[in-house]
Symmetry: C2
Subunit: 241 residues, 2 copies
């Protein structure tokens, strides 16, 4: 690994190292990133290289430089409207972030799937495809979802590319649009193994979202049980009479 011929320049490596710390939550939004002097000392580089590393972080949109105060991790909080059917992908694009999805696993189940949402028990007829995914914004894991999809309505969905928006798959592959979603939000604390998908080590507050989605009157297309990290996510709601 020493003097690898294709190794990227030193300033770039340093910026990646700091980005990794942001992605893993060691550097939280609003916290100062290492200063020029900190970088010189820690990485044994010149002040030109240190300055270039900080400039790279800024150019890539990870930090804000505040004149005379220092360089701070950008606030990556995303607000999601709770009253609108609006997938993660669109939500992130609208927030100016780059969404991506990683499929962790799936299971075909022949049984019905039942879940209680807001005190009512909903049952979706089997067979059901259960999928587990982690969803990222600019490489930061934002939420971890388990979704149960009706194979009656979406046959062979496990053969589609499941690392894209499910709403896009429902629409383009099956001609199905959602009409309504009932959701229940709980506040939870993620600890231990539950932190793993988020690549953080300290407990973080989170939203648990349990939901049932309809594509017609009383016709359930999918149910969900997801966890959104609370340090980077907010839910917006409008109440009327």
């Amino acid at each position: 690994m020493l003097n690898e011929p294709y190794a990227p320049p030193k300033y770039f490596q340093i910026s990646r190292d700091i980005i990794a710390q942001i992605q893993h939550g060691q550097l939280a939004p609003g916290m100062p990133v290492p200063s020029e002097n900190d970088i010189i000392e820690k990485y044994k580089v010149s002040n030109t290289t240190a300055r270039k590393a900080l400039h790279e972080l800024e150019k890539a949109g990870w930090v804000n430089r505040v004149k005379g105060k220092g360089t701070f991790v950008r606030d990556y909080t995303v607000v999601r409207a709770i009253n609108r059917i609006f997938g993660f992908t669109k939500n992130m694009i609208e927030a100016g972030r780059k969404p991506s999805t990683r499929l962790i696993g799936f299971h075909l189940r022949s049984e019905d799937h039942s879940q209680t949402v807001n005190g009512r028990l909903y049952t979706m007829r089997g067979p059901v495809c259960e999928i587990e995914r982690v969803r990222y914004a600019d490489g930061i894991p934002m939420m971890c979802e388990t979704r149960y999809i009706s194979l009656q309505l979406c046959p062979d969905i496990h053969r589609k590319n499941l690392e894209q928006s499910l709403y896009a798959i429902f629409d383009k592959e099956y001609g199905i649009q959602l009409t309504e979603i009932n959701q229940m939000l709980s506040a939870v604390v993620l600890e231990g193994d539950a932190l793993k998908p988020f690549q953080v080590t300290k407990p973080i507050p989170a939203f648990r979202v349990e939901g049932v989605s309809f594509c017609g009157k009383e016709l359930i297309i999918e149910m969900e049980d997801s966890v959104y990290r609370g340090d980077m996510y907010r839910f917006a709601a409008k109440a009327v009479r």
Copy 2:
């Protein structure tokens, strides 16, 4: 204190002791309460007294007895619809709970009050009455709220009885009804001093609700910054296209 002439019967004292543990979160919903034998041993009482204490808990609605399994703390979770203007008081009554409110303090402020909700900065003209209250269901502290009320729209509101529903005061005393509320929900962890109003000692997950309430087009009557305990509160939402 020994042999106090008016001391309530032993079984009643024991039941109050267990209720206090439920109220303080030492006994969480779904957990077993001490068994007859536990009570006999801990409080040095007869099995008749122990049985009466458990019966008292059940009669008061704090526990469920499951035949052959034991006695468990009732699940006190309340679901609140997020899309409806619906105060705490009504919400609790609908859930079959007895609501109460304790005023912790108030402040009259002449300055405008500004708050950012869902990325937009809202400003309410001063003077403003800031009030802090703790709200209970069956004696359990469920949420802790700070509300900022327009004294232009509600003059002298600090002279009203502030331990009742503010919505009722707006309506009955000022003839004002809310038309819309914009809210932002965050997931947080309560620790240290933030736990005090809830009389618990271990960190609990919670919802932070920041909101702005209108009583006409762009006419702000109040803003809020509240904390709902996440172990006893859920938010329900309906999303449509």
